[in-house]
Symmetry: C2
Subunit: 147 residues, 2 copies
Amino acid sequence: MMKTPEELTELFRATGRKVTAQRQCIFRVLQGDESHPSAEAVHSAAVREMETISLKTVYQTLHDLAELGEIASLDLGTGMIRFDPNVDDPHHHLVCRHCGKVRDLVAAFPDLQIPRGADLGFEVGSAEIVFRGLCPECQQSTLQPSL
Amino acid sequence: MMKTPEELTELFRATGRKVTAQRQCIFRVLQGDESHPSAEAVHSAAVREMETISLKTVYQTLHDLAELGEIASLDLGTGMIRFDPNVDDPHHHLVCRHCGKVRDLVAAFPDLQIPRGADLGFEVGSAEIVFRGLCPECQQSTLQPSL
DNA sequence: ACCGTATTTACAACAAGTGTTGAAAAACAA
DNA sequence: TTGTTTTTCAACACTTGTTGTAAATACGGT
């Protein structure tokens, strides 16, 4: 899981960043969010506690957090960048091709070595696996042939 | 590889689509392109043969081709959708995190089974692996610390 | 060649995200 | 505390990739 708002506050101060009410609000919103929210979604949640916070501020803070390695920013092909507070244990993602829902898949795939010579000279740093399919809810709703 | 322009022409007619000079131009441009071009890149290449072709037409035709399964559209986190004429043999992708270059990695990863019970109820249809790293050229250019 | 319909085109709208700027707030020093 | 400096906030305009609209044009079956 992610650091607490208090720990993040300290981390921001320790790295020379200012701690503002807006940022702390974002810390709280992110805390325990498993839904891989978009910047827009984080903003909506933040507005509920702090009506005047701007979307730009949310973007800035999310970028700061990503830079510090406290959250991951993911482009999973759903049209917007999603943010994942879970950076502690390595995992991959399940993406619903119908509603765009994202879930963590905490499993290691040790056999992900690129066959010798097939890397075309790339210096490969990371591998992300995206499993696409239908989430339980969308399996329901796509049962009806009337869709 | 991809179907020839002639085969695509037939396929378009067979599926009730009209065959226009613009579309055939796009067919030719796509033919043998391994660079995973963006719509913009396809347009640029098409303009070289046909100055007046519009970007919108390129998008439309690429969508048609994707709908027919003749090309794949990929969102690999490079900021734009990339199109891949290679749909015949299953493969994954190497993405340069510096210049955005994309290369096919034709290799099967048979051990990509999700551990029993870890699928969270998803009905998983496909898995895409994106390997991120530096392409040979960008390894060169990032050697200089002056960058 | 004709005509109905799909297609192309220019143009504008759109969405996600970024640069700019005056105003406000934090940090720092005394 | 007060004043001073520096950073950040938030409204706005802008950029980029992509899509919608509507008029003009081209396809292709007759």
